[in-house]
Amino acid sequence: MSGILVVAEHRNRALANVSYQVLSKGRQLADQAQMELLAVVAGSDVDAYAKELAGWADRVLAVKSDRLEGLLAEPCQKIIAHLIRKIKPKITLMGHSSFAMDMAPSLSVELGIPLATDCIDIFWQNGDILVTRSIYNSKVNATYSFAQSETVLITGRVGEFSVEEGGRQGQIEEIEFDFEEESDYKKFEGYLEAEAGGVDITQAEVLVSVGRGIKDKKNLEMVEELARVLGGVVSCSRPVVDYGWLPSERQVGLSGKTVQPKLYLGLGISGAFQHVVGMKGASIIVAINKDAKAPIFSVANYGIVDDLLKVVPALVNKISELKGKTE
């Protein structure tokens, strides 16, 4: 019997948030098609993860091996390829994480099956599975179908699917897996954690966040000034770190930090999803961007469509004025 197989990910002794998200989506798709939901988790010590996953899945496949010390793409590809061949799930689902970006494409080639990555929607239509992807800087949605195939591989966008209560008690099966001789053409050397920096943006109540629209590091001065009058600190999107204008500890987003300030003021940030996943939990989001169609406006509470270099100095003045009145 075919079902839906969710590949769960873990790091730093916890299941990844995105795994809960795709698990919830997987549960929904399985229920709609009256299929079984399976989850697979691989690692050196997976008991706790397996129990957790059993809250959603009908069956949890727990693959235990010392070879799986870190969650590395190569051994995992072997395991999952083996399981897909064996179980033939209709869909194999995983989060569109860095791990998935490394593994899913080669897995799809190894098995000769279709792959759709970074999907924002996954749905049944007349018994077929379809996906929607967000393309062209989030300005267009594209819906895709798959060529005839027993099984397909899908990765879901981080933060796109809401986590529903599981409330099940699935079975847990331990799986033995024989690795072939280890090859040493690709040697894992370890993890490097982000350095703890001087400023901790995750603790700030107010973040004034700048993106590529700031144009030059010289313009950071006015942004620092705005942060100062608001009693906050400056954070940024990835390009600002790439250009070396701010240190990486200030980066918000998927490969940076997740923040939940009271106010998130985004300046010249387009709102790519990799950025938005890191800041959408803010209580008030304000965006200043000269492109009225920038996707950031669909997560913001307030927006100003204008040149930030003009608005920011004005805003500094107005805030200072208002503060002057109360003090």
Binding site: D216, K218, N219, E221, K310, A314, N317
Partner: protein, 393 residues
């Protein structure tokens, strides 16, 4: 490149660092090189750049981000050329531009310069905004597309895309309409004029823009051009002939001067203000047009014209030339040239600072805000002043 390949290799050493290049015409202080005024270090004066360039090309120093920033902070304002006592002064600015050119060819330019030039390669303007939006400034004005009218009204990038620049572009269009001038614009088909590109040292890109523009103008049968920006005026008047582009080019203040004088434009509505005028480098020092804008102001009833201490060929640059209105290597300080300039304007007692260039307009208006002088001093383009005097809102 080595010093021997460098076009000015045999003269660059002749700078003896007298430091005259940073004085204004009346020797009142040493702050007339805008970059020197901002940083107060010899390295940021013309003489400093020449010495650094020589040292770099001789291999005494390595290229660095800092060296690139120093060269690109030159706004090409031409003050040094006017002040340098040596006969080689006609080439000192070109020496700095040639050094920038070398950085361009090596691909080693400050990141905002890279962005500026790539945006022009791709979208024909430094902002990187779509070419398809270049003509948006004229929506609702009734301004016509160019099709054989007497004048081509060339707006330029700042007038086309900057919100404040757009306002002036529209008002000038309305003034020309009111005066019954026969003119048209290129809208989305207008391309960058290349003046800043040339001053940033991207010679080949400049040549391409000039060739394309000349071909386009000739194809449309353009003979007379009136420009909003002195930057466009400068390159079309002085550089385009080298690309077989002989046009009768005027800056709009020159056209307005004639129209008002000949009674073609009724400015009797007047403009009541004490006005001081800031000479844009590309109209002033580059083209020695000091009179037309002043004549326009003087013939506007109600305008009382006062001069700043530094004026005409001694005027202090707003800091926006050489691409600096975008790459902004001189901003962010009370010593930024634009902020110095608006303080100087205030000292005259004027309540309006008149400009004749959209770059100066944006630079100086920002400076007025940064200085908190909004209540004392308004920055107005001469087109806006004339617009009001002839009853255009």
């Amino acid at each position: 490149m080595t010093l021997t390949d460098y076009k000015y290799g045999d003269v660059i050493h002749r700078c003896f660092r007298c430091g005259y290049c940073k004085f204004p015409i009346n020797w009142m202080d040493v702050n007339n090189c805008p970059a020197y005024a901002r940083f107060r270090m010899e390295t940021y004066s013309c003489g400093g750049r020449l010495w650094l360039t020589r040292a770099w090309l001789e291999g005494e120093i390595e290229w660095s981000d800092h060296l690139a920033d120093i060269l690109y902070s030159c706004t090409a304002c031409k003050n040094c050329e006017v002040k340098c006592p040596l006969s080689f002064n006609i080439d000192i600015l070109n020496m700095m531009i040639a050094a920038k050119g070398e950085m361009v060819e090596r691909g080693e330019v400050p990141s905002p310069v890279k962005e500026f030039l790539e945006n022009i390669q791709r979208q024909g303007n430094p902002y990187g905004t779509s070419r398809a939006k270049r003509g948006e400034w004229m929506e609702g004005t009734g301004i016509e597309a160019y099709q054989g009218q007497e004048f081509l009204y060339y707006v330029g990038c700042v007038g086309s895309y900057d919100t404040r620049g757009q306002e002036t572009a529209r008002i000038l269009g309305k003034v020309l309409q009111k005066a019954g001038v026969s003119f048209g614009v290129l809208g989305n088909d207008e391309n960058c004029d290349g003046n800043e590109v040339k001053n940033l040292g991207e010679e080949t890109l400049f040549e391409m823009l000039a060739e394309e523009n000349v071909a386009q103008f000739q194809g449309l049968g353009v003979q007379k051009i009136v420009t909003l920006s002195p930057h466009s005026y400068n390159t079309m008047k002085n550089d385009y002939p080298g690309f077989n582009g002989e046009f009768e080019v005027s800056h709009y203040t020159q056209l307005l001067q004639g129209l008002i004088r000949d009674g073609g434009l009724d400015v009797s509505g007047g403009y009541n203000a004490t006005v001081t005028y800031h000479d844009p480098c590309f109209l002033g020092r580059w083209n020695e047009e000091y009179n037309a804008p002043r004549a326009v102001l003087k013939s506007t009833p109600g305008v009382q014209l006062v001069e700043m201490a530094r004026n005409k060929d001694g005027a202090l640059c707003c800091g926006g030339g050489g691409g600096n209105f975008y790459i902004d290597l001189l901003g962010g300080s009370a010593d930024s040239p634009a902020r110095r300039r608006v303080r100087e304007a205030c000292e005259t007692g004027a309540n309006v600072l008149a400009v004749a260039c959209p770059n100066c307009l944006t630079m100086l208006e920002d400076a007025v805000k940064a200085e908190g002088l909004e209540d004392k001093l308004a920055v107005k383009d001469i087109a806006e002043i004339v617009g009001e005097a002839c009853g255009i809102k």
